[in-house]
């Protein structure tokens, strides 16, 4: 049994039809409940529920404060390689996009790590493109080992691996794994990932499960909004998170809502996720899973992120640079980025905003011993 069986089960399910059938009474009923079931998730993700955003927001804020308190955890992403053998049509690292590829040496990684750590950040997310030949497990293991000198929590957003490979990285000190399914719609997935290792939908879908079995203590998943139909994606991402929560009770589960932004070689998003949908999805997720981590990246604008602090977000990236070597080695104009950062405020500026919003920015909330 894996989440793949659930996906197959839901393939004949008429998501659109079900969302349209939701009435105001259904939404009100779901809002009154303390513990939500799958049908309630549906109700709260429907268009009808957009008339109830304020009560949803109030309940979401209350639940978030109850379970996470008045704090927002901070992390920074570090891109160590932009080599990629995949042809994802929406990605700036797509192998078909011509630009000088870079991979940091271990010494350069250490310099970048030191530059990020100097901002006070203790949580790091290491990212690569998918090119095992360029960034083999031995390289990643070494990178994690060096990072351990500077950070108390190391998360990975790298290409999907086998369980045994993940074990090696956990042993080296990585504690958290991020892997986005990009789209849960198998047809759209096929279209977006025409070749390369990433074309294997099932292998990617089951990555979080392999990660959990290998010993990662936190999993961050999600869909890349802009590819599939947003409501269906939001629903399946939440069901995936819920499945993982039930299956791996000792693992902390988070969801992200990355929205497509511009990058070289990128396609126009098929389905634009509006701000209102974005907020509704976040709120519905919070009400469905009160202990769920919700991560907000710098893809979102500063003004929008300032509002999301109050609506159930638990983790913010900040001071992000999405080009390889951008923290200490290159200036912004030289770097080819995977996506454009919209909130380009410094770590200090983001921390100040969090404080002014009545929350505490937390730079260290983790220690692997």
């Amino acid at each position: 049994m894996s989440f793949m069986s659930r996906i197959l089960e839901l393939e004949s399910f008429d998501f659109d039809g079900h969302f349209q059938e939701v009435t105001s009474a259904d939404v009100e009923n779901s809002l009154r409940k303390d513990e939500l079931r799958e049908q309630d998730l549906f109700n709260l993700l429907s268009k009808t529920a957009q008339d109830y955003l304020e009560p949803m927001a109030r309940k979401a804020q209350k639940l978030t404060r109850q379970h996470f308190g008045n704090i927002i955890s901070l992390y920074a992403p570090l891109y160590i390689s932009d080599y990629c053998s995949n042809a994802c049509v929406y990605c700036g690292f797509n192998c078909g996009v011509q630009f000088p590829r870079t991979k940091l040496t271990i010494e350069e990684i250490e310099r970048e790590a030191a530059a990020i750590a100097a901002t006070g950040m203790r949580h790091i997310l290491i990212l690569t493109g998918e090119a095992p030949a360029q960034t083999p497990i031995s390289y990643l293991e070494e990178a994690v080992t060096v990072m351990k000198k500077y950070f108390s929590s190391i998360a990975l957003e790298i290409f999907p691996m086998d369980e045994e490979e993940y074990r090696v990285l956990c042993k080296a000190g990585a504690d958290s794994l991020t892997v986005y399914q990009e789209t849960y719609d198998r047809e759209v997935y096929k279209e977006m990932h025409p070749r390369g290792r990433k074309a294997d939908y099932e292998y990617r879908l089951l990555t979080p499960e392999r990660g959990a079995r290998a010993g990662f203590r936190a999993l961050n998943i999600g869909a890349l909004f802009g590819l599939g139909e947003p409501r269906k994606e939001a629903c399946l991402a939440a069901l995936h998170a819920h499945y993982l929560e039930q299956e791996f009770p000792d693992v902390e589960i988070s969801l992200s809502l990355p929205r497509m932004t511009k990058a070289k070689g990128i396609i126009e998003p098929k389905n634009i996720l509006s701000d209102i949908d974005f907020v509704q999805f976040m709120l519905a997720w919070r009400l469905f899973m009160p202990r769920l981590g919700i991560t907000i990246s710098t893809r979102e604008s500063a003004e929008f992120r300032d509002r999301l602090v109050h609506l159930g977000a638990t983790r913010f990236s900040s001071g992000s640079k999405t080009g390889v070597g951008e923290y200490s080695l290159k200036n912004h104009h030289d770097a080819t980025v995977q996506f454009e950062v919209t909130d380009d405020r410094s770590v200090d500026e983001v921390a100040d905003m969090i404080r002014q919003s009545g929350y505490q920015p937390v730079f260290k909330d983790w220690e692997l011993v």
């Binding site: 308190g69 704090i71 000792d250 505490q360 730079f363 983790w366 011993v369």
Partner: protein, 263 residues
């Protein structure tokens, strides 16, 4: 007439360390570390728990420990530990970091409800008590485990009232009552207490102390909330010591008609 309770020594001991306040507090979930010192002053709390995973001696900003006045004792906790072995390692690091000999054991493998793993908690308690720690284990209310923790050298028993952060109060009341009856160690009701009235109820029941974090930290005015909980804990303690009459399920006349037969 002077009340009997005012003449009693009502000091609370964990190990051989004495406390006059029976309200333990926490550092998590506050909107700002700056509120911790005034909250402690208002609540009179003398023991505050700190997640070691949040301690960063090299922090660019003020470290969490620096917000705690010297007069208040730190109770480092092993939050984040999923096994007894991890809890033990965290405790040792805390001691080396200068956090003292107190340790609150939290071994949690359930990230949804954050319910403690009693078997792991017991194992960590056994090891750390032998190493001279003053061990306060957070546990699911269980009579057998209470006895085992006692034998393992714990300094207190910390059953949860309700899951962490739920503010649901004494959901575990019947079990906690049994623990209070049998425990030779101080019983601290930890987690779930959301209102001063619930804290008072725990104290009336005979709990030796309560630990409150979320309800204070996420209130609109943590200083006032700290004070309110302190007063509730004092009232509950006083009521317990006064040995208030028990609830009865049947009516009992205050002047029994047959009383003369026994006089």
């Amino acid at each position: 007439m002077m009340s009997t309770i005012q003449t009693q020594d009502d000091t609370l001991y964990f190990g051989d360390v004495a406390f006059s306040s029976r309200l333990l507090t926490g550092t998590g979930k506050f909107a700002s570390g700056d509120i911790i010192a005034p909250m402690l002053a208002a609540s009179g709390s003398e023991l505050i728990t700190v997640a070691l995973r949040r301690v960063d001696p090299n922090a660019k900003e003020k470290d969490i420990l620096q917000y705690i006045p010297k007069s208040v004792r730190i109770l480092p906790n092993t939050s984040g530990a999923r096994t007894a072995e991890e809890a033990v390692r965290i405790a040792r690091i805390a001691r080396e970091a200068g956090c003292g000999d107190f340790i609150k054991i939290e071994v949690i493998t359930d990230m949804k409800y954050l319910l403690p793993d009693n078997a792991g908690t017991l194992r960590a308690t056994e090891i750390l008590a032998k190493e001279g720690f003053i061990v306060l284990p957070y546990m699911m209310p269980d009579i057998t485990v209470t006895k085992q923790l006692h034998d393992a050298g714990a300094a207190a028993i910390m059953p949860l009232g309700a899951p962490i952060g739920t503010n649901r109060g004494l959901e575990m009341k019947p079990m906690i009552k049994r623990i209070i009856e049998i425990s030779k160690l101080p019983v601290v009701v930890d987690a779930g207490i959301g209102r001063p009235s619930q804290a008072a109820e725990a104290m009336e029941m005979g709990a030796d102390a309560v630990l409150v974090n979320t309800a204070i930290a996420t209130s609109h005015d943590p200083v006032a909330a700290g004070k309110a909980f302190a007063l509730a804990v004092q009232a509950g303690r006083m009521a317990y010591l006064a040995q208030l009459a028990e609830e009865k399920e049947y009516a009992e006349a205050s002047s029994p008609l047959t009383g003369f037969l026994r006089s």
